[in-house]
Structure formats: C-alpha cells, structure tokens
Amino acid sequence: QQQVRQSPQSLTVWEGETAILNCSYENSAFDYFPWYQQFPGEGPALLISILSVSNKKEDGRFTIFFNKREKKLSLHIADSQPGDSATYFCAASGGATGGNNKLTFGQGTVLSVIP
C-alpha cells in the first residue's frame, strides 16, 4: 500500500508564480518529513525537511506547511524559476516499524516552470 501519496502527479506553472505540491500520509507514527528534489539523470537531493512538532519550515523560496491532524503537508515554491523544474519527492520516517533510518517515499510530482 502507498503510505505516502503526492498530488498532483505533474504541475506546470509560469515563472514567478507559487507552485504548491501536496503530500499526505497514513502512518500516524511518521514524524520526520524530508522533501527531495531530483533533476533528470541525477539522484535525488535533500531540499528541505520538517519534524512533526512544527507546522511550518522556511528555507528561502521553499516552505513546508504541515498539518498533523489531517496528516497532510505541502511544499510551496515561491517565485518559481525555470531552474526549479524537477521531480519532487515527499518522504516520511519514524515509528517503531521503520525507525528513523528508513524513509518511505511518495511517487513524486513533476514540476515544470515555463519562462
């Protein structure tokens, strides 16, 4: 079963707009949520992360909003740039089964930013 779900599968925005990528999860034991960015032909790289004790995390143009009650989070990319065009993965870890080492990834959102 898909424990971490992302929507939309693909998203196209104009340069300068805010892109909003959504993520939801099922396991209430998850307490750490990193977002990874992947460019074609490369491996994923950590972009930003949040712990479940927080409801917001900012890093420059990238912001995570977290809603523990609804088991949802979103990544907002402000002032989107063509260089932000990539696939974004939401991931989660935590709890007795997975522990802190094991990440469960969503299926990814492909973001295209049009100049």
């Binding site: 992302q6 032909g41 491996g43 994923p44 870890s93 080492n101 299926q107």
Partner: protein, 112 residues
C-alpha cells in the same frame, strides 16, 4: 568532496544472467541504502545496511541480495535477473537516524 559513486551507470543483461551493481562513498557514513525507481512508484527501499555485515531487508528485497565488507562499499546482487527487475537503481548513504541521505547518480539496468 562528499560523493556517492555508482558503477556501472548503464547495464544491459539477459534474463537469467547475474548482475552486480557497485556503490561507493567517501564520507565514512555508517548507513547505506539501495533503492529502485520506477515511473509512478517513486523510490522503493530494497536493502539497508547499518555497517559492515549488518544488513536488513527493506520493502522489496525479493530477488536481491547485498554485500557490505567495507564501510565505504555496498554491492547489490541480482542472481538470475528477471525482466521485471528492469529499473533505475540508486544507492545512498547517510550518518543514520534522520540525517540527510546522499544519493548516487543511479544505474539504469535493462534486463532483456
């Protein structure tokens, strides 16, 4: 220079052949991972290694085995490859816990 390397980058094998994928890291990370990435499925964890000779199954270990004899090297072995093992395989390493996972560039494996 913090780096995870993977060899080979591209590989074509016939069904039933054995496959060896190699991964190296220069960060002295204890924990290493093997994932496969398929369209629409994201990254799926095959095996996790906590240190030399300390390996644990991930979510999809069937058809795979691993070997870690040195901290900096982690190998993924497919004995008698199957066509449904055609995928892109990523190796990663981390300090463990909630530390950032550093990924290699991937190996694209095609099994005919």
């Amino acid at each position: 220079d913090m780096k995870v390397t993977q060899m080979p980058r591209y590989l074509i094998k016939r069904m039933g052949e054995n496959v060896l994928l190699e991964c190296g890291q220069d960060m002295s990370h204890e924990t290493m991972y093997w994932y496969r990435q398929d369209p629409g499925l994201g990254l799926q964890l095959i095996y996790i290694s906590y240190d030399v000779d300390s390996n644990s199954e991930g979510d999809i270990p069937k058809g795979y085995r691993v070997s870690r004899k040195k901290r900096e090297h982690f190998s993924l072995i497919l004995d008698s490859a199957k066509t449904n093992q055609t995928s892109v395989y990523f190796c990663a390493s981390s300090l463990g816990g909630r530390a950032e996972q550093f990924f290699g560039p991937g190996t694209r494996l095609t099994v005919l």
